[in-house]
């Protein structure tokens, strides 16, 4: 008797955007397993052509509704590097704080609303409200704190309005920051409880390892998010300006998103990559969280990405308090922004929740953009998802799982990467013959 298992998930749920999983197998042998991205390309790099340097961050921040702060910062850094603009220490601190806010916001969204239902064995976060209301309320509370940080720093929770080339149009005041610090302090306990909730259900995370390359920003001074050098677990440190030799973008017929590869067939970016590269720089409480889950670098289990995100939530909260202390002790002042427009090329690179992000702009002498390139974290993960599936699917079939179980396990694998698919389909060079 031949046993066929066919999985065809058209538009996997609980991820951002549209992706398909296709698996055909016969008698326990995989005939085809494929991760497809069918979403329409979005042409952002073309949209910004001819635009003034002051407009670029506002436009490119729309690439993503979740990591819009990261896109804004990458864009501003690229513009500032192209024109040789120096930012003040105060601006640097405020930007780092905003990035932490987004990191917490995005990670808690993923772990709390998208991954937790798998751990609790339900279809979405809504049934959880009936069965585990307290857990959901705690998750929402952490999310709320993250929104408060983003709102205070950026003028709103997504798509910043206060961040501009060279600095800020409006900075938070002393009282606001003091209040924010007390809010972080009181939410720290809740975050710890969320960690315990996930820990109690962590046995649902599959044991699956595949050695791969991990790429992310790395720095000698801190757990790098805003600035640093490109680090690889395979090849060490690289200058940011060499990013094209790291990403090596290529296209495949079944995906509107570009794929990337560096030292191996694929590499992974995101919380787990950052953890593997920089875990020694984590703050103490975050390190405790990692210990609780037995998470140690290097970890080759992609499902542990969600756990690395939990670790980063706690780290970002600790670091936010440190930054606020520093801001309060040095005093806040309204700074004047002065810009000399000139021609040049600049590369902006920041760690956004899903991994390392590059914006690369070239300007003419009037400050008009003539060439732009954005490399999105999810792009860099697509190839790794595919490679993981190629190894994971046969293992699932061998263990005699049913079609439904195989489907769920593959979905969980994709979800673990926290893909932001719409962001990744920004450009495709189509050639008609």
């Amino acid at each position: 008797m031949t046993k066929e298992i066919n999985v065809d998930v058209e538009h996997i749920t609980r991820v951002e955007g549209h992706g398909n999983i296709v698996l055909n197998s016969k008698n326990g042998k995989v005939e085809r397993v494929q991760w497809e991205v069918p979403e329409a390309p979005r042409f952002f790099e073309v949209l910004v052509n001819g635009r003034d340097y002051t407009q670029l961050a506002q436009i490119t921040s729309r690439i993503c509704g979740i990591c819009s702060i990261g896109h804004t910062l990458a864009s501003l850094k690229a513009t500032e590097s192209a024109m040789g603009i120096k930012i003040s220490d105060q601006t640097l601190l405020l930007r780092k704080l905003a990035l932490h806010g987004e990191n917490i916001q995005s990670h808690i969204l993923h772990v709390g609303y998208l991954v937790a239902p798998d751990l609790f064995g339900v279809g979405s976060v809504f049934p959880l409200i009936n069965t585990d209301k307290e857990a959901v309320v705690k998750i929402v509370n952490v999310h709320r704190l993250a929104n408060e940080i983003c709102d205070m720093l950026c003028g709103r929770t997504t798509h910043p309005v206060t961040m501009v080339v060279g600095g800020f149009t409006k900075i938070p005041n002393k009282n606001g920051l003091t209040h924010l610090k007390s809010r972080i302090e009181e939410t720290m306990k809740t975050a710890g409880e969320v960690v315990d909730i996930v820990l109690a259900n962590a046995d649902k995370l599959p044991e699956f390892t595949r050695e791969t390359e991990y790429i992310g920003l790395t720095s000698d001074d801190e757990y790098a998010l805003y600035d640093g050098m490109i680090g690889s677990t395979d090849t060490g440190k690289h200058e940011v300006k060499e990013y094209e030799s790291i990403t090596n973008e290529w296209v495949v017929p079944h995906s509107t998103a570009k794929y990337t590869k560096h030292n191996r067939e694929s590499y992974m970016v995101g919380a787990l990559a950052r953890f593997n590269l920089n875990s020694a720089k984590l703050h103490p409480l975050a390190r405790e969280v990692a210990e609780k889950f037995g998470l140690r670098a290097p970890c080759y289990n992609p499902f542990m990405n969600s756990i690395a995100q939990l670790v980063e939530i706690v780290h970002s909260m600790e670091d936010s308090m440190k930054i606020i202390d520093e801001l309060l002790s040095r005093g806040l002042e309204n700074e004047k922004i002065e810009i000399n427009v000139k021609a040049g090329r600049g590369i902006g690179c920041v760690e956004v929740p899903r991994g390392i992000l590059f914006h690369d702009y070239t300007y003419d002498k009037d400050g008009k953009c003539v060439k732009a390139n954005c490399v999105i974290p999810t792009n860099q993960n697509h190839a790794n998802i595919q490679k993981d599936m190629e190894l994971f699917a046969p293992a699932l079939l061998e263990s005699g799982k049913t079609e439904k179980e195989v489907e769920l396990a593959l979905e969980m694998l994709v979800r673990a990467y926290d893909p932001c698919i719409s962001c990744s389909t920004h450009y495709l060079n189509v050639k008609f013959r």
Partner: protein
């Protein structure tokens, strides 16, 4: 001229309110924090001086009186009177009233003293009318207009309704509520840009992001104004 001792009950939006004879529906509504917009109303005017001339306070009489629209500032309370302050009929009528009032209004919001606290801007927001530019809602007249800080803000030529979200935070208006189609407002806006020393190219480039379909209108007005 309230008569002592006698009380009347009227019904506003399905809820009963006790009031004195001689009061108007608007008096009762204001006392009970029911939102009825007014323009010509002044609490210093006594009853017979109220003319109901702006027509913004229209309410719909449902029962206990002549059915239909009446101005609440001139409608005396009577036993069994029931009115609606926000029915579809009221909404549409008020909307038309605001549109008519705006047609005669000089929209030089950039230089207007009540910008940031403008009743027209509020009405446009509440009744979904594309009438006033962002400047009408923007408080920066008091704290320093972005145009004077050499920032190309599209507020003067962009429809209000956002409550000046970005300009309040010091960020220039990008024009996401789309460009106004009223040529007079555009002219006032261009005057502000000329004073700020901005070139036609800069303005067109900025306006193209959200108002690509209206660029022809802007170019036409620019030409008429001799804008370089």
């Amino acid at each position: 001229m309230a008569l002592t001792g006698i009380k009347i009950t009227i019904n506003i939006d399905g809820k009963d309110y006790v009031c004195d004879p001689g009061e108007t529906v608007l008096d009762v509504a204001k006392r009970n924090n029911i939102d009825i917009p007014t323009f010509c109303y002044n609490p210093l005017l006594i009853e017979y001086q109220r003319l109901g001339s702006c027509r913004l306070c229209l309410v719909e009489v449902i029962s206990g009186g002549k059915p239909g629209l009446q101005s609440s500032c001139t409608l005396p309370v009577s036993t069994g009177l029931a009115v609606s302050t926000h029915s579809e009929m009221v909404y549409q009528a008020r909307r038309s009233v605001v549109e008519l009032l705006l047609s005669e209004h000089v929209m030089d919001c950039c230089n207007c003293g009540v910008s940031g606290n403008c009743i027209f801007a509020r009405m446009c927001r509440d009744y979904d009318i594309n009438g006033t530019p962002v400047c009408a809602e923007c408080p920066n007249q008091k704290e320093g207009c972005l145009l004077q800080r050499n920032t190309l803000c599209l507020g003067p030529i962009t429809y209000s309704g956002c409550n000046a979200y970005c300009t309040r935070k010091g960020y220039r208006c990008e024009g996401c509520f789309s460009m106004v189609q009223n040529e007079d407002i555009l002219r006032f806006g261009l005057k502000a840009y000329r004073d700020g020393g901005f070139s036609a190219d800069e303005i067109l480039n900025a306006a193209r992001i959200f108002s690509f379909d209206r660029i022809a209108l802007l170019e036409k007005v620019m030409k008429e104004e001799g804008f370089e």
